[in-house]
C-alpha cells in the first residue's frame, strides 16, 4: 500500500483503472451474461456523459479555489445549454460552443457581482441563479422557438478517430487501428481493456479532447503560474494576499467567470452533442454532480476527472442497458468494491466505516443473488446513489480551500 502511494499520480491512477477493469472482466466472465460492462459503446458513452460533469466540476474548481462556493453551476450549465444551442443553430457548431461559453460566463459574472461585490451569501446567490437561469431559457425559447422547453435540432463539430490508436485518417491515408486489432483477438482481459480504450479514441468529440487536455493545463495553471498562486491566495487567505498588494477582488471575479464559462461549455456540449437539441430539464442535475466530482476529487483537476468518469460510467451503462442485466452485474461489482472499502477502513481502525461498508455490501450481494435483473428505476437513480455513497465514505478525508465561502472586503482582514 505504501509503495503504491509513493508512485506518481499518472502511474497510480492508470493502475487503479486497470484493477477496476480486471474486476469488471472477472464479474463478466464468471458471474454474468452481459458483455456491456466492457464494451466499446459503454466507454464511449462514459466519456460523453463524463465531459459535462467534468467541465462543471472543473468550473467549480476555479471558483472554489478563489474562495467562492458555486452552487450556481447548474444554472450556468443551463445557460450554456441554451446559448450553445442558439449559437449552433444560427452560426454553426464552433461559434455555438463559443456562445455557450459566453452564456455560462455571463451567469458567472452575475454570481461574482452578487457574492464578491455585494457579499451576498454564496449559496443564496447560487440558488437564485439556479432559479433565474431556467426561467430565462424558457422565456427565450418560447419567444424564438415557440416552445418553452425545446429547440430545433443543433449542429455539432465532426467527430474524429485518433491516429494509430483509433484508425484515424491523415488526408487519404488511413492509419492502422491498433486497439481494434487487439480487441478482435479476444484475449481475455487484454481485449476488454482495449475495447474500453477504443471507446475513448474513436469517434471522439473535439470538446472531449479539449476537456481531457484541460487536466494538465489546469494543474499547470493553478500550481505553476503566478495567476494560479494568486487565485489560490484568494481562496486560502485573502487578507494576507491583500497585504501583498494582490487585487483579491479581481482574482475572485476571474475565478468565478472562468467557472461559469467552463460550466457553459459543458452545457453547450449537452445541447449540441449529447441530446442534439436544447431541451429543458436535460441538464439532469449535472452541475450538482460536477460539484460532487469536485469534492470527490479533493479540489484537484485529476481527481475531478476521475470522479466525472466514475459517474459518467454509471450514466453511460444505464443508457444502453435496457433489460437491466448490466446494472444487475454492477451490483456484484459494488459488493466487491464495498468489501474493499470495508477492509481498507479496518486497516485504518475506522470501525464505523467498516460496518457501514459491510452492511451495504451485504445488501448489494443479497439483491444480486435474489434477482435476475434490476428494475429501470434503480438504474435511473444509481448515479445519484453513487454520489451519496462516495461523499459518505470520502467527505472526511478532504481538504477544501481554507477561506471557502467566507466574505471578503477590501481593507478588512
Amino acid at each position: 500500500m505504501k509503495a503504491l502511494n509513493d508512485l506518481p499520480a499518472w502511474i497510480r491512477w492508470p493502475l487503479y483503472a486497470l484493477a477496476g477493469i480486471m474486476l469488471l472482466t472477472l464479474v463478466q466472465t464468471f458471474f454474468s451474461d452481459t458483455e456491456r460492462l466492457t464494451q466499446v459503446s459503454t466507454s464511449r458513452e462514459m466519456l460523453r456523459w463524463a465531459v459535462p460533469i467534468f467541465l462543471a466540476g472543473l468550473g467549480g474548481l476555479f471558483s472554489e479555489r478563489a474562495g467562492v462556493v458555486n452552487i450556481g453551476l447548474e444554472g450556468m450549465l443551463i445557460l450554456g445549454m441554451w446559448f450553445g444551442a442558439w449559437g449552433s443553430i444560427n452560426y454553426g457548431p464552433w461559434i455555438g460552443l463559443l456562445i455557450g461559453v459566453l452564456g455560462g460566463a455571463l451567469g458567472g459574472l452575475l454570481h461574482a457581482v452578487a457574492t464578491v461585490t455585494f457579499n451576498v451569501d454564496h449559496i443564496i446567490s447560487g440558488v437564485a441563479i439556479n432559479i433565474l437561469a431556467p426561467a430565462i431559457t424558457r422565456y427565450l425559447s418560447d419567444e424564438l422557438w415557440a416552445s418553452p422547453t425545446t429547440s430545433p435540432s443543433t449542429e455539432t463539430p465532426d467527430k474524429i478517430d485518433l491516429l494509430f490508436l483509433g484508425g484515424g485518417n491523415i488526408g487519404e491515408w488511413e492509419s492502422p487501428d491498433l486497439l481494434l486489432s487487439i480487441a478482435e483477438r479476444e484475449w481475455w482481459f487484454i481485449s476488454d481493456v482495449s475495447q474500453l480504450l477504443r471507446g475513448l479514441v474513436t469517434n471522439v468529440h473535439w470538446v472531449s479532447i479539449m476537456a481531457l487536455a484541460l487536466v494538465p493545463v489546469t494543474t499547470w495553471l493553478i500550481w505553476r503560474t503566478r495567476f494560479g498562486l494568486r487565485l489560490r491566495i484568494a481562496g486560502e487567505n485573502p487578507g494576507a494576499g491583500a497585504t501583498q498588494g494582490i487585487d483579491i477582488i479581481r482574482y475572485k471575479y476571474l475565478g468565478v467567470i472562468i467557472s461559469g464559462g467552463l460550466a457553459g461549455l459543458g452545457g453547450a456540449f449537452i445541447s449540441t452533442e449529447l441530446s442534439g437539441l436544447f431541451q429543458g430539464g436535460n441538464s439532469a442535475g449535472r452541475g450538482f454532480i460536477g460539484l460532487a466530482a469536485l469534492i470527490f476529487g479533493n479540489w484537484r483537476p485529476g481527481g475531478v476527472l476521475v470522479g466525472a468518469l466514475l459517474f459518467g460510467y454509471v450514466f453511460g451503462l444505464d443508457l444502453k442497458d435496457l433489460d437491466g442485466t448490466a446494472s444487475h452485474a454492477l451490483l456484484l461489482v459494488n459488493t466487491v468494491i464495498l468489501a474493499g472499502v470495508g477492509a481498507w477502513a479496518l486497516t485504518k481502525r475506522r470501525t464505523t466505516d467498516a460496518i457501514l461498508a459491510g452492511l451495504l455490501g451485504v445488501g448489494a450481494f443479497v439483491w444480486w443473488i435474489s434477482a435476475e435483473t434490476v428494475p429501470d428505476w434503480w438504474s435511473n437513480i444509481l448515479p445519484y446513489v453513487l454520489v451519496l455513497l462516495v461523499l459518505v465514505f470520502f467527505s472526511q478525508r478532504l481538504r477544501m480551500p481554507a477561506a471557502l465561502g467566507q466574505p471578503f472586503r477590501k481593507g478588512e482582514t
Partner: protein
C-alpha cells in the same frame, strides 16, 4: 420609523428593478409591457382569481417555512422538493388504506406526511453530523433519488396491485372523503359575494396559517427557536453557550422536513389521491419565497402571495396574448436575485450607519471629558 422605511427600501428597490428589466424583456420581443401588467392586475382583481392565488400561495408558504427553518441556522435544505413529494405519496397511500371518521382520518394523514418528510430530511441531517456530507449536495441527490427512484418504484408496485387498470385509476387508490381537508368557501362568503366558476378555496390555508404562527412562536417564544437563531448567527458562541451543534443540525433538518411534508396536502385534498402527474417544483419555489421574505413569518406571506400572483397571471397572459406567459418566471427569478443583492447592500449600509453613530457618540463623550 426611519429604520422601518430603511428595511422597506430593499424589497421596493428590487421590485422596481424587476419591473424595469421585465419591461425591457417584453418590449424587446415586441410586447407592450403596460398592456401585460394591466391584464395581470385586472385579472387579479376578480374574486375567483384571488381564490386561485390563495390556493397557490398556500403550498408555497408552507414550503417557504420549511426552507426558512433550515436557513435560520445556515442549513441549506434544498431537498424540500423530494421531501414533500415522497411524503405526499406515502400519506396518500396510507390514507387510502384506512377508513376512519374525519377527526381521526385527517390528523392521521397529516402525521404520516410529516413523519415521512421528517425522516427523509433527517437522512441528510444525520449524514452531515456523522459523515461530514455537505447538506446541499446530499439533499439535491436525495431529491433525484426520491423523484426518479422511490416514487417511480412505489407507484409501479401499488398500481400492479390494483385490480382494474385504466388511465383514471393511475396514481394511488382514492382516499375516502373523510380524509380530505374540506374547502372553506363558506367562511369566505360571509365577507364576500358567492365564489363562482366552481372555484374552491383550500382548507389547507388554515393549516398554513397555523404553520406560520407556530414558526413565529418558535422563533420568538421558545428555547429551541432561540438556539436555532443563535446557531445561525454565531455557531461558536452558541456552542460555548451550551447549544449542542450536532443535535441542532439534525433537529432543524427533521423539523424542516416535517413542515415540508404538509405541502402536498393541498393537492391531496383537491384530487383525493397522489395523481400520476403531481405538481412538482413547489420545493424550489418555496426556497425562493423564503429568501425573498427573508425567512420572516410575515415577510414570507407577502412573497408567497407575490409568487402565487405571478404564477396565476401566466394563465391570463396566455389567454389575452398580451405577452408570453414565461415572462412571469423571469419576473420571479429577477425579483429574487435583485432582492438578495438589495438585502446585501442594505445590510452594508446599516452596518456603516451604526459604525458612524457609534463613532459620533464616542466623539461626543470624549468631547465632554476633555
Amino acid at each position: 420609523m426611519r429604520k422601518f422605511l430603511f428595511s422597506l427600501s430593499a424589497p421596493v428597490g428590487a421590485f422596481v428593478l424587476t419591473l424595469v428589466i421585465s419591461s425591457i424583456a417584453l418590449w424587446a420581443f415586441g410586447s407592450n409591457p403596460f398592456a401585460a401588467y394591466g391584464d395581470m392586475l385586472g385579472h387579479a382583481s376578480k374574486l375567483e382569481t384571488q381564490v386561485d392565488i390563495l390556493n397557490r400561495a398556500t403550498p408555497l408558504y408552507i414550503s417557504a417555512v420549511a426552507a426558512a427553518i433550515g436557513f435560520r441556522m445556515n442549513l441549506f435544505n434544498i431537498g424540500v422538493e423530494g421531501q414533500y413529494l415522497f411524503a405526499f405519496l406515502i400519506a396518500a397511500q396510507v390514507g387510502s388504506l384506512v377508513s376512519l371518521p374525519a377527526v381521526l382520518h385527517i390528523p392521521l394523514i397529516m402525521i404520516v406526511a410529516m413523519a415521512t418528510g421528517a425522516f427523509y430530511a433527517g437522512i441528510a441531517g444525520v449524514l452531515k453530523v456523522t459523515r461530514g456530507v455537505n447538506e446541499v449536495i446530499s439533499t439535491i441527490m436525495l431529491n433525484s433519488i426520491a423523484v426518479a427512484g422511490l416514487i417511480a418504484w412505489l407507484q409501479q408496485r401499488w398500481q400492479a396491485e390494483q385490480e382494474e387498470f385504466t388511465s383514471t385509476t393511475l396514481g394511488t387508490n382514492p382516499i375516502d372523503e373523510s380524509g380530505l381537508i374540506p374547502h372553506i368557501n363558506g367562511i369566505v362568503e360571509i365577507f364576500t359575494r358567492e365564489i363562482g366558476q366552481g372555484k374552491e378555496l383550500t382548507g389547507v390555508l388554515l393549516v398554513a396559517i397555523c404553520v406560520g404562527v407556530a414558526y413565529h412562536l418558535l422563533l420568538t417564544r421558545m428555547r429551541f427557536g432561540f438556539d436555532l437563531r443563535a446557531s445561525g448567527l454565531n455557531p461558536f458562541a452558541a456552542r460555548a453557550g451550551g447549544v449542542p451543534p450536532k443535535r441542532m443540525i439534525v433537529a432543524a433538518m427533521v423539523l424542516s422536513g416535517a413542515v415540508a411534508g404538509l405541502i402536498g396536502l393541498v393537492e391531496l385534498s383537491e384530487k383525493g389521491k397522489f395523481p400520476p402527474n403531481a405538481i412538482q417544483g413547489l420545493g424550489f419555489a418555496g426556497i425562493a419565497v423564503a429568501l425573498l421574505g427573508r425567512n420572516h413569518p410575515g415577510g414570507m406571506v407577502f412573497s408567497a402571495l407575490l409568487f402565487a400572483f405571478l404564477d396565476v397571471s401566466a394563465g391570463i397572459l396566455q389567454n389575452t396574448e398580451a405577452a408570453t406567459k414565461e415572462i412571469v418566471n423571469i419576473m420571479q427569478g429577477i425579483v429574487l436575485l435583485a432582492a438578495v443583492v438589495a438585502y446585501g447592500i442594505s445590510k452594508r449600509f446599516q452596518e456603516r450607519e451604526e459604525a458612524r453613530e457609534t463613532a459620533e457618540a464616542l466623539r461626543a463623550e470624549q468631547g465632554v471629558m476633555a
